[in-house]
Symmetry: C3
Subunit: 214 residues, 3 copies
C-alpha cells in the first residue's frame, strides 16, 4: 500500500515539476530559472506547510528524493527534444497533464494532512483543511508569484476548491474507513472534480458587477 | 476592558476582510478566490508574525473565531445585494471603511506586539516595532502580491508609517501608563494619522528624480 | 580574520541596500517605501533562511547592526544629493555596484551555510546548498516580488547559479582547507563568475521554442 502512495506522489511530483518548468520555458528563462521554477512548484507546497506547522528544516530536504526527481524532470523539460516530441500529440498530452496534475493535487492535499497530524500533532479540523489545501496548491502559487502571474487558483476552474473538498472527504473517510481507503477517496474526489470541471468547463460563480443587472 | 479589545479586533477583522474581498470582486474572481483573498487579508499579518516569532501552528488556527468571521464577511461581500446597497451611499461608506481599516491597522499593530512579548518572550524594541508593523500591514501585502498589484504600502498615503508610529506610541506608553491606556493611545495614534493623512491628502516625500530640479 | 568577514558583510549589506533602495527610487516610492525595500533586500535573504532552518526570531533582529546599516543606507539613497553626485561618474559607479553586489552575494551565500550549520546543526549537503543560495538571493527575490517585477534571478545573467557554485566551492574547500581559506575561495568564485559573466555578457542557455529550428 505504501508503494502505491509513493507512485501517486511520484506522478504528482512529475506533473507539478512539468507545470513549473513549462512556465519557465514559456517565459524564455534560462536553464537555471526553469529548474528553480520546476522544483519550487513540486516541493514548494510542502515547504510552506512545514513552515506553518513548525517542521524545520522542511521535509523536502530530509527526504530529497522528490526534490531531485523534480530537478531532473525540469531539466528534461528545458531541452526541446522532449517538447518537440510532445508537440506531436498535444491534445492527448494536455489530457495526460490534466489528470496527473489532479493526482498530484489530490495526493499532496492528503499527505499535507497526514504530515501535519504525524509530525506536528495537529488536530484542529480547520488547520488540517487549510494545511491540506496549502500543500496541494502552495507550489503553484509560488510558481505564479515568482513568474509574475496572478496565481492560477484565482484565475481559472475549480482548483483550490477541489483540494479543499478532497481534504474534507479524506478527513471524513478516515473516521469510517481504513487509512488506505480514505486516501483513495480523498485523491479520487480531487481527480473527479478536476476532470469534470475541465470537461464541462465548470466554474464557480464570479462576482457580478453591482452596475449590471443580474 | 478585554471585551473592548475584542470589539476593536472584530472591527479590524471585518474591515480587512472587506478590503481583501473587494480586491477579489474587482478582479472578477470566483467566490473561492474572493474568500481566500478576504481571509488572507484579515489573518495574514498575524500568520506572518507567528512564523517570524516561531509560534506554530499560527494562532489564527488556534483561535479560529477571526478566521471564520473573515470567511463569512468575504462571502457576504461576494454577493451583489450588499454591494448594491452600499453603492447608494458610497461617500459615507468610503469614510466608514477608512476609519474601520485604520482601527484594524492600529489594533493589529498593538496585538502583534503583545503577542510577540507574551507568546515568544520578545524584548528587542527593534523586533517589536517590526513585528507590530508586520502584523498590521502583512495581510494587505499578501493580498496585493497574490492579486498581482504592487503592495498598497508602497503606493499611497501614510500607511506602514502610521503602523510604525502606533507601535512606537504603544511601547512608550506602556512604560508610563496601564496597558489599557497604552493600547488606546497606540490605536488612537494610528487612526488619527490615517484620517488626517486621508483628509489633507498628506503623503511622505517621494524620491525626486536626479534629472529634474528640486 | 573575523574582522575581515565583517568587512565583507558590510560591503554586501551596503550594496544590497543600495540595490533595493534604487528600485524604490525608480518606482517613485515615498521615503518609507524606499527604506522598506532597501532593508528587505539587505536582510531578507537571512530572514528567509532563518524561517527555513527554524531560527526564530530571525538573527537580523538579534544582531540589528546590519538592519540599521541598511536603513541608513536606504535613506541616503533616497535623497537626491548622493544620486546627483553618482550620476557624474555612472560607468565607474556601475562597476562598483556590480563588484560589491557580487561580494554580497558571495558572503551571504557563505554565511547562510555556516549559520545553518552552527545555529541549526544542518548537515545535509542539498539543504546547505539551498540555504546558501536562499540567503544570497532571497533578499533580491523579495525586493522584486514586492516591487512587482519578475525576480532578477529569472531575468538576467548568471546570478543564482553563481551563488550555487560559490556554495559548492565553499563546502568542498572546507573539507580540505581552513575555514578562512574556504570562505575566501567561496566568495572569490562568486565574484569571479559574476564579473566574467557581466564582462563577456555570458548567459545560461535559454529555452528554445519548439516551433523554431535550433
Amino acid at each position: 500500500m505504501d508503494a502505491f502512495f509513493r507512485i501517486l506522489e511520484l506522478i504528482g511530483t512529475l506533473a507539478f515539476a512539468v507545470s513549473g518548468a513549462n512556465v519557465g520555458v514559456e517565459k524564455r528563462m534560462d536553464i537555471f530559472g526553469v529548474a528553480i521554477l520546476g522544483v519550487t512548484t513540486a516541493v514548494g507546497g510542502g515547504v510552506l506547510r512545514d513552515l506553518v506547522i513548525g517542521v524545520t528544516p522542511p521535509q523536502a530536504f530530509q527526504e530529497p528524493v522528490w526534490l531531485i526527481t523534480a530537478l531532473v524532470t525540469s531539466i528534461l523539460v528545458f531541452f526541446p527534444f522532449l517538447r518537440r516530441l510532445a508537440a506531436k500529440s498535444r491534445a492527448r498530452l494536455d489530457t495526460l497533464l490534466l489528470v496527473t496534475d489532479a493526482v498530484g493535487l489530490g495526493i499532496f492535499t492528503v499527505t499535507g494532512i497526514t504530515t501535519a497530524m504525524e509530525r506536528a500533532g495537529c488536530r484542529s479540523v480547520l488547520l488540517l483543511l487549510f494545511v491540506g489545501m496549502l500543500t496541494g496548491t502552495g507550489g503553484g502559487v509560488l510558481r505564479d508569484v515568482l513568474a509574475g502571474d496572478m496565481p492560477y487558483i484565482f484565475r481559472k476552474h475549480i482548483y483550490a476548491s477541489a483540494s479543499l473538498v478532497g481534504a474534507g472527504v479524506f478527513l471524513l473517510a478516515r473516521l469510517l474507513a481504513p487509512e488506505a481507503a480514505a486516501v483513495l477517496l480523498g485523491v479520487g474526489a480531487v481527480v473527479a472534480m478536476r476532470c469534470l470541471a475541465a470537461h464541462y468547463a465548470w466554474n464557480l460563480p464570479r462576482a457580478a458587477s453591482v452596475w449590471q443587472k443580474d
